[in-house]
Symmetry: D2
Subunit: 354 residues, 4 copies
């Protein structure tokens, strides 16, 4: 496969560029008999949509999803679920200036080098608009995983960090602030900071934490498709992601085994959870938690020197409406990718033993 | 696939438990016509082997590799390359004590839960001995990628860290010290610290940095199989890994776009390399660099409380010869997995354009 | 994958039911830089369309294809090519009578048993309408294989058979008659016979022969993905197909080795071609030829006894406009599937040797 | 994958050449908890072995299988099952004469063209010896499918054919005669004929029929991975196979719909079974039956003109001990491949509905 499919038995294949007639995808391997809650799907789509608050891009994209197959009278049939998300405004007046120019830290140069041709309108295939399809598929995966609870939230923006462990946070706060930070006090600071950065015509990075609760024991397929390895790939495949850690993560490298080991309770649960819910690549029933690093958005509203396709140095400046910070809108994407991973392993695990 | 295969066109499938008659694997998709340097392969195997220095386990494993197919008169034929690594000493006198006991932070409990049965001898399939097969395959991948240079080194042990950027290090130092640290001064400190930890019967975590140089432009398959996403999965699939970051990584989340963007030189190279050699999931010709976090080894020589398979609390203590710190021996594994990823994308990229 | 994808590197994934809003698919792995001839694609679609002559169904389906991605200014970009074919008339007045009834020799019963739910309108996912997507993708594969010539024709209808070997036929005749038979005299007899069968409210089977010329040497991936094995799977995956043979086929079982062996000419070509252009699963540069058996269409305009979903015996009769013989319209489908197979192996073979 | 893997979740990957140190394979995806009957496996291996009767090759190959992993105390653990079959006599004195010569209707020429290098000893990778690995894996698949009964038998040799339908045959006869023909009278004629052909230094083709009974309803994954499509591919991937038909097959093309349709009994079974147990690509619970065409073995003991790798015409004659007719020894291979297909779909079908 040429990179546009994800999953082993519950699979998503996506297509589409930011300024083509439509994006879309095919979900294959969703078991028959799942009654879909379409409002829940639409609600996930809206969490990712531009224009939802004053700290994200004010671009208008109506991410209304149209299901074309695989569902009959509201229930999945076991046939592939095709869907499209139309690009209602395909005109690209804003992008002619980048036709022959490579934006710094974008994919313009690498796409041109790899393919010898590039749909330059709005980033084409490399646009984060593609993630709308992931959110749609993830919303269905979530419904397949009724008992599992997947919660992501912004845990840092620039140097502003949530320092409390997730157990001390009230997840109900997340959707109450535009940053989607689980700590309301830090959220206010983040919001102010993002506005300030935007005023400078600049952007800033951040990180998202995610917790998966009530995961059945046994998910993950050693040795290469360990649960956390597939989660890591899923997250790293999201635009702008630079790092992934789970459980004790990078901080765990500083610990000794005697500090890090998770001792058992008699029921098989563990007294601590440095393992992050995964041991030997397989879920152990404890909470899975991980953190994802996002770099600052590359499109800034400041002048930058760059080159055109002839290697000539030119000056450019971002136009249009872009996110000063990507993490608030990436929260539902992180959840969606997590759901796709867990759903796939949930199904695969049905085949682990007689 | 049930998790034991890696790669799309250059693939490795492995089998084997730490105390069965042999481990082994099949490399499929290696192009015909590659003249193999068997000494180079053997030399990689020896870098991973136990007993090579006084800071790693003194266990004796003769990781001699036997190629069974796919090679004729020293040259690959395009047919699958089967190989085995015999377990010369299959007796398991040391492991009877864990037959019914779940070692903390090992895979004993999760394997039992997932499969309902477990080869308890030495960790069975979950043993890091499986990575010997990866090193063998990676050594062949390296030979396929003649012009690419892959260098990994230990960059932290506990709180001892290499702070110099890789450009200021002399990679020739790496194999000169038993820790495989590129900074000789820090290496000495690390070695002393590991010995101290071992004396306590404890273990400690660490991290490995890796640099891939001379990578052709265009490797990586968006959108799900981005080069860094597959690298991340590859690293996270190695035993004990808890995190992965590339380029600016987690630190990059603190930067602004104006600081983070890599401006172009007229020849398409970039003035800085926060991108870590990958933009939009595709290599841009700059150095690829990343860091991998390893937790402390779970087997410690101290008494720990744990449970047996009936949920009864028992006391246990590690026996035998284990690594006090895994990172020195993991260096060739990191390189091998990196080589597998790059070789696969190198071949796939032949098909990107007419 | 749950069965809706075909191919290894040049892949097609399809979705869609006969009476949903649209069918469609994603072609992934088509190299960038292919200038598409859209008229040629449309022309293939029309060859499959109902209503094109008086011996096929008079049902109206406007199989107009809409490309949604992966093409920029008429040229493939290396990104996935998404496309849809809208079902212009989604109303299903004709199908309510089969809602709870299992049509004999259709997929109604097996879909219900497998999935527990069934989109009964027009056969749903099991409808041959799905093959429209294959024809679309095959048309692009044909354009990728510029030098290869793929020609299918009807070689039997009921007992009426083309007995001349393909070398003695004029392929220019095929599109001149509504049966798509390469022998004009037999074509007339077939046409008359099909009309007669239709008058009886009955249907009849037939077979299609296909010849692939100018195939590069070296296509096919032993041992499981032999060129003819994948061709066979491709053909058997078409609705109503019951058999596949290539080269000497079933008749070859009667021969002796001394009669069957294809002796070489000094240039590597062979004096005879019982091998059908494939030796050891790899193309040898000779013509590939094969034959595909189609059963009679199951929907007949005669009364038949059958059962409903409660196991009650009921009487039913086909309604609507159905094909009395499927082979004329299946000719472009056979060609399309052949093109998909050859294109995939053509790309894979780029990776066979250094 | 480069063609050496088969299956989606229950997978077999094989390696090995006829004259290397060993052949072998990895079975991945076999559920844990299957208690293996090793005698049954060995017995399948012996059915395929050379030298078992006076009408097959008298070559000595001790196909003793060595399992290396994935099995603990006789029970599968869910980890990959690695195995090897050593080539006890690796010396190749008989093959030097074909080093630079292309045997007619063998894979010598195509392998050389595809890979630019060829292990010429005994056919190398293209040797039917590879099928020993399939028989081993198929034997395990059979044990997974306890209730399913898979029976293959020789149904024709040259012009000698079993004309009785399988329902009238006594399968207990099959292993009683060296031809493995289910009709003892025809078996005697076949045996005599094969001896005669061998005396002429010639070979002859034949066909194998196979019946799969007690198949659960619901196996097969539309649309591309239809049960019979995958069966067809499996059979066509066996050396020397030229055709595959199931159910009414090629003869069914002559029938009308009113004759061919399988009418239902109230319990969902059908009064006739032209469908061959598969409707819409999914098993319907009736017997699956199919027929496989084998060409005559290419190696004959007569002089033939051929060419060497320089295109020079040379004369050659088969040496050594070869089968005058391949079908008796191919019977267990057909069964094994059928078992692999059914086992894979059996597991996949667990995921079809909630």
């Amino acid at each position: 496969m040429a990179g546009n499919s994800f999953g082993t038995v519950f699979t998503l294949t996506t297509f589409g560029e930011s300024h083509g007639p439509a994006l879309g995808g095919i979900i294959d391997g969703c078991p028959a008999g799942l009654k879909l809650d379409f409002e829940a799907i639409e609600s996930e789509m809206q969490r990712r949509m531009p224009g939802q608050s004053n700290i994200v891009t004010q671009r208008k994209e109506l991410d209304s999803i149209k299901f074309l197959s695989g569902i009959f009278e509201g229930i999945t049939t076991g046939s592939p679920i095709g869907f499209i998300i139309e690009n209602t405004d395909q005109k690209s007046p804003d992008y002619s200036h980048i036709k022959d120019t490579y934006r710094p830290s974008h994919a313009d140069y690498t796409y041109d080098q790899k393919y010898g041709i590039r749909d330059y309108r709005g980033g084409g295939r490399s646009s984060a608009r593609e993630t709308a399809c992931r959110v749609a598929a993830g919303a269905i995966a979530k419904q397949l995983l009724k008992q599992v609870k997947i919660t992501a939230y912004v845990s840092s923006v620039g140097n502003l960090e949530v320092t409390k462990p997730y157990q001390e946070l009230d997840f109900a706060e997340i959707e109450k602030n535009p940053v989607r930070c689980a700590d309301p006090e830090i959220a206010r600071q983040m919001e102010a900071y993002i506005k300030e950065v935007r005023k400078e015509g600049d952007t800033v990075g951040g990180s998202i934490s995610c917790v998966i609760q009530n995961v059945p024991i046994g998910l993950g397929e050693p040795v290469f498709d360990k649960l956390h390895a597939q989660l890591g790939k899923a997250m790293l495949s999201i635009n702008a992601v630079k790092g992934f850690e789970y459980g004790s993560g990078f901080a765990g490298t500083r610990l000794k085994g005697s500090e890090h080991n998770d001792l058992f309770n008699p029921d098989g649960s563990t007294k601590t959870n440095h393992s992050g819910g995964v041991q030997g690549g397989i879920s152990n029933g404890e909470d899975i938690y991980f953190k994802v690093a996002f770099k600052p958005v590359a499109t800034i509203m400041q002048k930058q020197e760059t080159i055109d396709s002839d290697g000539k140095v030119v000056e450019m400046q971002g136009k249009g409406r872009h996110d000063p910070c990507v993490v608030p809108r990436a929260v539902p994407i992180v959840e969606a990718m997590a759901a796709l991973v867990v759903a796939d392993f949930y199904l695969l695990n049905q085949l682990s033993k007689l």
